[in-house]
Amino acid sequence: MEGWLGPELWQAVRLSIRVSAWATVVAMPLALLTAWALARWAFPGKQIVNGIVHLPLILPPVVTGYLLLVVLSPRAPVGGFLADLGMGFAFRWTGAALAAGIMGFPLMVRAIRLSLEAVDPRLEAAAATLGASRMRRFATITLPLILPGMLAGAVLGFAKAMGEFGATITFVSNIPGETQTMPLAIYAFLQVPGGEDAALRLVIVSVVIAMGALLVSEWIARALARRVAGA
């Protein structure tokens, strides 16, 4: 594969996987919490949180990237503070992961929330009568029952991360080996006449990877469904 692509593109492939995986993994617990809050809690400003969650979907990606840049560039207060802690995002792969995670976030939250809303609260009540604390009910009843939704959210988030372009390039720009994910490399190729061939190779690779993830997720989902239907 590396031979077919050349070391530079191969680097983009590896980076994209890393960025997408981190984006998905780190966003998941947050998405879960957010989905829980939106599905189960009543609190003032709930619709505002809901709106903020959807923002990355509503805004053109470039705008999202621009907002990230404004807030998190090393010269900005927040970004400077984080950079001082050694946790800067600007021009680093972590920033690419952040952008990808944010762009996929609404998709993950929605999928999880739909699952949460489908969980029969009477089962959680039954667990409570058996002595299970709130935490344990969540871990043993709710979580297993929303796994399909979490899985769907993870797939959507991962796929989105694999394809994210606008916010990423605007926020962390295109630094080979650091922030040049596959979509950025593809874009660059498409900007020059005759670059389609190399772009195509990357497209194929990215489709193959995402399809692999998709297949794995479908396989797990089937296993989960079988588990509930009875082994």
């Binding site: 470039v62 621009y66 840049l69 404004v70 560039s73 090393p74 010269r75 900005a76 600007a90 021009f91 606008g166 390039i169 605007t170 962390v172 720009s173 295109n174 630094i175 874009y187 660059a188 190729f189 498409l190 900007q191 020059v192 006449p193 670059g195």
Partner: protein, 229 residues
């Protein structure tokens, strides 16, 4: 009559002003579509209803021409531009003679995509000519296009950047530190041509108007060189 012009995004302000003037003078409408040159060239090759194409880059005009889509004899280089080094208004006084890599330290130099976007390609060539590229290459943050590179400097994300003079001129949050000599990079030209397919006298008129005095004044005001007839 309506004239549809596909033009590089960076020409937006100037062209809108010129189109308004043209409209007032002739009563014809000018529809301006701004996007990346690559996208528009591809669209024209795919049959987009453009009457005029104003590219930021001769390469894509060549590609359109190779498809035989230009009205013969209408292509000409309309505008030129210069490449400048920019920095924050309150930043240190830096020139192209300085060791930019040393100035940057851990920071980044903002440029457009160095292999894909003309401003980036030109910038790389110029830095190479100045013998600075090798040291700077790992420090470059390549933006989607010149405007995005400008934004990196304007927001303070990068202390230095390389952009067109025309872009830098209108951005109060950056300062032009130095200008690259024209011979350090391939000439910066914006070719224009009539697209074959639709006979519109108005399009021909607008093409002519772009070379006229009124247009020249506007372009110059926005920092472009107008390349003579």
């Amino acid at each position: 009559e309506t004239v549809t012009v596909f033009a590089a995004s960076s020409l937006k302000t100037a062209l809108e002003e010129i189109a308004a003037g043209f409209g007032a003078e002739t009563g014809d409408q000018v529809r301006l579509s701004f996007a990346g040159s690559s996208a528009m060239a591809r669209q024209i090759m795919a049959g987009a209803p453009a009457d005029l194409f104003l590219s930021a880059n001769p390469g894509w005009m060549d590609a359109v021409e190779a498809e035989g889509l230009l009205v013969a004899g209408t292509r000409r280089d309309l505008l030129g531009n210069a490449l400048v080094l920019i920095g924050a208004p309150d930043g240190p006084e830096v020139g192209l003679g300085d060791d930019l890599a040393a100035v940057l330290g851990d920071d980044r130099l903002a440029m457009a995509l160095v292999e894909a976007v003309p401003a980036g390609i030109y910038g790389e060539a110029a830095l190479e000519a100045l013998g600075q590229w090798e040291a700077l290459a790992p420090r470059v943050a390549q933006a989607e296009n010149v405007r995005a590179a400008l934004a990196l400097v304007a927001t303070g994300a990068a202390p230095l950047g390389i952009v067109y003079r025309s872009d830098a001129q209108a951005e109060p949050r950056v300062r032009v530190l130095d200008t690259f000599a024209a011979d350090t990079h391939p000439p910066i030209t914006y070719p224009v041509a009539r697209i074959a397919g639709r006979e519109t006298p108005a399009a021909d008129a607008f093409l002519a108007y772009l070379g006229g005095e009124a247009a020249r004044a506007v372009f110059t005001r926005h920092g472009f060189d107008v390349i003579g007839e």
